[in-house]
Symmetry: C2
């Protein structure tokens, strides 16, 4: 079974975070972000893929402090909305370092982005392309394609990207409309742990580039999107170098001329930089002879742990108690919502000594947490973030 990490033995808390928690005892729940780890992760990505331009996916953690730290290190930014454009510019990012990567945008949002100096956009549909030509003339564009293209009549394709044949047609159309065709892009999917996952997309992108060249539409770059994983309790991320080697080999094989590479990591930059400190609100059993304890935390699915939907991410947990003796638990959030249960199908064990008022630390929680928080569901405030480093 999965034992909880022992706080004393655990190497997972940086000395900086440990000192901060001891000195400041922040009210719970809260997300602590170690900005030094953000910087370290950024440079690890640069070192693994020095030939690629890094556009940090702001959505993973849009805290102004994170964006400012990465701008200072020279990162570019993948933004999903005009809100994220304003955020990045306010934190010192140059407009030319922004890429509006969301293929779903209102015409007015494209015009706003263009007025603020954004000149890179991603599209995957004709309507959006026409809006780009009108409201962001001359901009650089990528067309996002689906690696597994949908068949006609099957509605259950992925949300983003179009069939490769349509991508070819739309990129030619982009060229005709006076846009600067950068090339194709795709996304292997968030938290992708298999380096081989890049190959099919790179092969397709190479084929698209070749086909476009034959009709006189030169391409320039390959945007590989994000998806670089973090390690969680039940998922081990391979080293970034493994991804880099797979990418490099596939590009060499499938492109006639080496394209400029662009990557859009989010989770890989911020996940391990964050830790949520929570407090146990209640430990109970549903009947006097129930083997399982229910452990209710002061954070749940609606105040930051949205990625535990369907128990997708199993975070590592940490308490101040010795790891044993322990016992099986169901872990739930504090709201009156019956779906606000964090883990009941994923086996977790927590120390038998755990009591209301104790802390439970949720590790590697820097990505896709605070910004998911509900504004006030059940009257609970959003998850605050505090920064060290």
């Amino acid at each position: 079974m999965h034992a909880v990490l022992d706080s004393v033995a655990s190497p997972d808390l940086s000395p900086r975070l440990r000192a901060f928690l001891a000195d400041r005892a922040p009210a719970t729940p809260c997300l602590l972000i170690d900005l030094a780890v953000v910087r370290t992760n950024y440079h690890a990505m640069r070192a693994a893929l020095p030939e690629a331009a890094i556009f940090y996916a702001v959505k993973a953690n849009p805290a102004p402090e994170v964006v400012r730290a990465l701008a200072a290190e020279g990162s570019a930014f993948d933004v999903a909305s005009t809100g994220e454009i304003d955020l990045c510019l306010a934190q010192g990012a140059a407009p030319e370092s922004l890429s509006y990567g969301n293929p779903i945008k209102k015409a007015a949002d494209i015009a706003y982005a263009h007025a603020r100096g954004v000149r890179r956009f991603t599209f995957d549909a004709e309507g959006d392309l026409e809006n780009l030509a009108e409201h962001a003339p001359g901009s650089r564009v990528w067309c996002r394609f689906l690696v597994d293209a949908p068949q006609s009549g099957t509605p259950f394709g992925k949300k983003f990207g179009c069939a490769p044949a349509m991508a070819r047609r739309l990129l030619i159309r982009a060229h005709e409309l006076g846009l600067a065709v950068d090339g194709a892009c795709f996304h292997v999917g968030s938290q992708h742990t298999d380096p081989a996952a890049w190959v099919a997309g790179i092969a397709e992108a190479g084929a698209i580039a070749r086909d476009l060249a034959t009709v006189g539409v030169p391409t320039r770059s390959l945007n590989l999107g994000g998806g670089f994983p973090a390690s969680y309790r039940d998922q081990q991320a391979p080293p970034l170098t493994a991804h880099a080697e797979a990418i490099r080999a596939a590009v060499a094989e499938h492109f006639d001329q080496a394209p400029e590479l662009v990557v859009e990591p989010g989770r890989a930059i911020v996940a391990t930089a964050g830790m949520i400190r929570s407090e146990v609100v209640l430990v109970s059993r549903k009947s006097d002879d129930d083997e399982y304890r229910w452990v209710y935390l002061d954070i749940g699915r609606y105040s930051g742990l949205a990625e535990t939907e369907n128990e997708y991410i199993a975070y590592r947990l940490r308490t101040a108690h010795p790891a044993t003796p322990d016992g099986p638990v169901v872990i739930a959030g504090p709201t009156c919502d019956g779906d606000d249960v964090i883990y009941q199908n994923t086996p977790y064990r927590l120390p038998m000594a755990l009591r209301a008022g104790d802390h439970v630390d949720i590790l590697d929680a820097g990505a896709y947490t605070a910004s998911y928080s509900s504004v006030s569901f059940n009257g609970f405030p959003p998850l605050p973030t505090v920064f060290v480093g």
Copy 2:
């Protein structure tokens, strides 16, 4: 197949809402709440169950305007947190009209509630009961039990409530601890459309009351919780009178002495009072011969439509186009999140004439929407609410 409602023919938009939309053209997305409908729904509940005290479940829609309107009509309030206590008191509710119905509470939150004058609480576990005795001495308490009690070793019971045998023990303990035992409570589950669902819980509550009487612990009331449904596209709510008759008959059968009745409706008060106006951001196909169109709205699962998780609620939709000709669609939200898809397994058809910039109105959306909104996921702001009536 399910046809979209025609705007002109639809009786679903009150003249007040229609006039407001025409005059004010609010920016989208936004939730419009007709406070007159909130009042009407409250009085319909009173008329259906005049013998019951109504504690509005604030979590369903915690807008201050809604709470103020209901306080003015004489409603009491079921609150889930200290935040909701402060909200209700600020909107004119008397402390004695509040019931702290969340069985998951920190000791400090109990003390805070007690200091603000709250004297009714619900518990379902020994730890919370002890905290109530210490921090809210003498208060009135209900113990929430599970209608289908978990067996030992099965962790997958519901989040709230304990086994009935434990409820008996804990209520006796509450009496010993000097708390005022109101009795048992249960919850049939949100959006419960079968009036027969009340019977098993009422029978169990009656048995608990009888058993407690035999050991000298008198009980006073029966809290039936919420769960009163609203009608959605694929779910027809029976009339409130059907619920009332089922409740009345079961109470008469299973209680020796008629208890005071308490109900905690949320959805049934506010759902039909609300409409979300959204805008189509993009209509696309994934390939040139795809039968399905993807319709992307400027609202999605993270900005208010949280109850479309697993496509649980199928809202009625309304456009300004004639209902036909129409065609099948997948409906998705505006973020870069691949899970931000609203309906892909639930068949929806929308007019072929639908274009980017058109409005799509989401009906009966007054419950569990705006307060679920993320603070800033993908840089999109939370769903604002505007009020008429």
